[in-house]
């Protein structure tokens, strides 16, 4: 090799290496400028406005078990985009939600996310059970403490459980030990009861069901006002009413698309909730990767709804309300029907029919339910009515679904 050749090759090599380095740098740079979702301040915490709900995780095909890989991908995407609030509970996915979210979050440093879990008031047997359930939850989630901890679904019935099992003082003890950072409760009952509960015990936050449909329909407005009055930040659950508000019906979607063709119907409702100033987190139970991407987009550089947009949304909701859908959020709390009737499935079929009007799809859907689990087997025992956070008169609604089936088939 002569000198000339040597110099040539040396220059080529160094240029090549520089090029590689540059692409690398650019790639890193582009990673760094991933836009993060908007956060809100709570004491010294920076909580993402979008919360990751764990009640509707993706399922494996034809199964009721959670798809771990899909969940991991969704959570990875969410965390990369700054989502840091995760909300699970004892009852979700038949107790599997806590385990899965524990596994999925394992690889992230504990301080990088906020985990919320809930005490299952409904199944508490005695005082000791509070301690047992709490410790089991820590174990299932593979953590040492919960950032947010809630008494699950305080209502007329469970308020007695709070006293009977001495729940509050035990949880307060946990808070002093540092195993709970902030203590709150989730709530679906009347505004009067909400005020009673807030007055009776000292809470740090409250979780309410808020969405454009329920704002007037089930007193969400009053509940929000009470929470604000007592200075409790609100965590919003069911902002999309179990997905109903992300599909709406054709007419309502057309109205929204006419106003802004770029954003999805779910974005409208989520923004509606996040526009309220006292809202800390808007939880969304995302079932698919696309949902996460869409929601992250909605909350990146979050813009509150303008007055004009509020008007458009309320028009669309009015159109949707007139379609006669059942106000079920498919939360599955009624799934332990003693007779085994798959209640949420019935309501989903009914609502889909009300939204798209496809008769054959409703009939085949109904007939795909096992004969033992169909609406006509209902004996009106009313156990589901106690479970339902939406206070639906399930036995009568089931009759309605059955009548619809009879009239269509």
């Amino acid at each position: 090799m002569n000198r000339r050749q040597f110099v040539k090759s040396a220059i080529f090599t160094s240029v090549g290496m520089l090029f590689l380095k540059a692409t690398n740098l650019i790639a890193e740079q582009s990673k760094k400028i991933i836009e993060k979702v908007t956060t809100r301040k709570y004491n010294n915490l920076n909580v993402s406005l979008l919360g990751f709900g764990c009640m509707r995780l993706p399922l494996q095909e034809n199964s009721i078990s959670i798809d771990l890989n899909k969940t991991q991908k969704m959570v990875d995407y969410a965390i990369a985009h700054g989502v840091n609030y995760f909300d699970t509970a004892w009852f979700y996915h038949g107790g599997k939600s806590e385990i899965v979210i524990g596994k999925v979050l394992k690889k992230y440093p504990r301080k990088s996310f906020y985990l919320a879990d809930k005490l299952p008031l409904r199944v508490l047997q005695d005082k000791q059970d509070v301690e047992n359930k709490f410790n089991e939850q820590l174990k299932k989630c593979q953590v040492d403490y919960f950032d947010f901890y809630l008494a699950h679904n305080v209502n007329k019935r469970e308020i007695n459980t709070l006293e009977r099992c001495d729940v509050y003082s035990q949880l307060l003890k946990k808070k002093k030990e540092g195993k709970i950072k902030y203590l709150g409760f989730s709530f679906h009952d009347s505004p009067e009861l909400l005020e009673d509960v807030i007055k009776k015990y000292k809470w740090d936050f409250v979780q309410l069901q808020i969405n454009p449909v329920d704002w007037k329909a089930v007193n969400a407005e009053k509940q929000y006002e009470i929470a604000t009055k007592y200075n409790l930040p609100v965590i919003v659950m069911n902002p999309l009413k179990g997905g109903q508000l992300s599909t709406l019906n054709q007419k309502a979607v057309d109205l929204l698309k006419a106003a802004n063709s770029k954003i999805s119907p779910s974005a409208w409702s989520l923004r509606y909730c996040a526009t309220l100033p006292n809202v800390l987190v808007v939880l969304s139970g995302m079932t698919a990767y696309e949902h996460v991407v869409d929601n992250v987009n909605t909350f990146t550089n979050f813009k509150p709804l303008t007055d004009k947009e509020q008007g458009i949304l309320s028009n669309a909701i009015a159109v949707y309300n007139s379609s006669g859908a059942i106000a079920c959020t498919y939360c599955q709390y009624c799934i332990d029907c003693p007779i085994g009737i798959d209640i949420p499935k019935h309501f989903l079929l009914y609502n889909q029919y009300k939204a798209n009007g496809k008769k054959s799809r409703f009939v085949t859907g109904y007939e795909s339910i096992e004969a033992d689990k169909r609406a006509d087997k209902c004996i009106s025992c009313g156990i589901c009515k106690i479970r339902c956070p939406q206070k639906l008169d399930i036995p009568n609604l089931l009759k309605e679904v059955y009548n619809l089936y009879k009239s269509l088939s």
């Binding site: 029907c337 003693p338 004996i379 025992c381």
Partner: protein, 458 residues
């Protein structure tokens, strides 16, 4: 009288008492007799495999240790079917044929049965387990007879149950008359398990030098365990009926410690034989296991969803443990538990004539296999087994059911002079008291998916 005769008569006396107690457990309504079935090996093994409990383990270990020390006395003293065969055997005058150890048959049978059991299917034991067969025979053949004699009504007599129990009974009689203890030595899986321990057992029956080769013992032995040529009694299949001891004219057969381990030869013959036999047995085990798995995947279905006795939890659990021995059916004071039939693939409850008594948990306390879980009376009183379906078109709001309901799930509300029946399902346990008393047949108890605790709110 000679000492040997006394031992034999003593053995007979104990057997008779046990047999009578076993019969009384099924024919009368006193649950005390059923306590005896705590030490039945078959049900014990089922409950040990399907749900572990210390007391059952102790019982199993005790039986096995006893068998290892003294031989298969279990078969002639505790097993009700063994004793029953023994008594039927008095009518058999067939002499023993040549020494023949049916080891392949019995090992293959028990391997299949146990293979299926370990993978959750007890069909094999349902058919072959001696206690269950005794239960079937006693409850559906002898109870009706007993009822006729004493003029009582303890058992719901149906043709189906009669046929179900007559089949094993006739087969058993034929076997005993023509093949003596063929069932105990070649079929019974419980006997096979005990035999394995007895084979290497410590105390045995021995033939000593006083023997004159008269062959009387050989002819009386029901299990064909006596090898005259070598003067050996095969401890593996000897069921300790002690007939040979009492019949021997020279009193040459005695019972005591023995170092002589020469018995039937399965594994020691040759390598070829050993490999063949073990493949056969492993294959049989795999067949049983495989069929159990296939069944649990594809074939488990309840024909009609039915109400199950409190403690059964759900149909899947019950059907994987219940051998249909009829003990609960016989002992239920209100006779609401019924034997399986063509429409029901397990025991079920029927409220058409009577209801489940509120302060009673006999079925759960006697069940020897744990198919009906042991639950305390308090647990039973909060165990929901069904729910009431009220036909509002038929109901006349008379309120008779209200007074019958033990958990106060029913009440009459009076609004503006209108009486309306209110039903609080959260406390209802589905006992059926309302269904039975309703004059309009407006209430029907409906089976539920899984038995749950009713929650008590203070």
């Amino acid at each position: 009288m000679k000492k040997n005769k006394i031992i034999y008569i003593l053995r007979l006396a104990v057997s008779t008492i046990v047999l009578i107690v076993s019969f009384l457990a099924f024919t009368t309504t006193f649950s005390v007799f059923a306590k005896f079935f705590v030490i039945q090996l078959g049900p014990n093994i089922i409950s040990l495999v399907t749900s572990f409990s210390l007391s059952v383990l102790i019982s199993v270990l005790a039986i096995i240790a006893f068998t290892f020390l003294f031989g298969r006395f279990y078969c002639s003293l505790i097993c009700p079917l063994g004793i029953l065969q023994n008594f039927i055997g008095f009518f058999s005058f067939k002499k023993s044929k040549n020494y023949k150890n049916m080891f392949k048959t019995r090992y293959v049978i028990s391997a299949i049965v146990l293979g299926a059991l370990f993978f959750g299917w007890i069909a094999g034991l349902k058919i072959l387990e001696p206690y269950t067969n005794f239960g079937l025979i006693a409850s559906s053949i002898f109870t009706p007879v007993y009822n006729l004699i004493t003029n009582t009504q303890n058992y719901e007599f149906t043709i189906t149950t009669l046929i179900i129990s007559l089949i094993p009974f006739t087969i058993l009689i034929l076997l005993v008359l023509f093949k003596r203890s063929f069932f105990c030595t070649a079929i019974c899986p419980i006997g096979t398990i005990l035999g394995l321990f007895a084979k290497y057992g410590i105390c045995r029956l021995k033939i000593d030098d006083k023997c004159i080769n008269c062959g009387i013992c050989f002819n009386t032995c029901p299990s064909g365990s006596i090898d005259l040529k070598n003067r050996i009694i095969d401890n593996e299949i000897c069921i300790r009926c002690l007939k040979c001891v009492s019949k021997c004219p020279k009193q040459a057969i005695s019972f005591g410690m023995s170092k002589n381990n020469k018995t039937s030869v399965l594994f020691s013959q040759s390598r070829r034989n050993f490999i063949l036999s073990s493949t056969l047995i492993l294959g049989a085990f795999a067949t049983g296991a495989g069929s159990a798995i296939i069944r649990s995947k594809f074939f488990i279905k309840d024909k009609i969803r039915s109400i199950l006795p409190p403690g059964s939890v759900d149909f899947r659990r019950l059907s994987s443990k219940c051998t249909n021995c009829q003990l609960c059916v016989s002992l239920c004071p209100n006779k609401v538990i019924h034997s399986r039939d063509l429409n029901h693939s397990s025991i079920y409850m029927d409220y058409s004539k009577n209801f489940c008594k509120y302060d009673c948990n006999i079925c759960s306390s006697v069940c020897p296999t744990g198919a009906i879980k042991k639950i305390s009376l308090q647990e039973k009183q909060h165990c929901r087994i069904g729910l009431a379906k009220i036909d509002r078109n038929k109901c006349i709001n008379c309120g008779i059911c209200v007074s019958q309901c033990p958990v106060k799930a029913l009440s009459i509300d009076e609004e503006n002079g209108n009486r309306i029946l209110q039903y609080n399902a959260t406390v209802c346990i589905g006992c059926g008291a309302c269904q039975v008393t309703c004059p309009q047949n407006a209430i029907e108890i409906v089976a539920i998916v899984e038995q749950t605790k009713t929650i008590i709110y203070n």
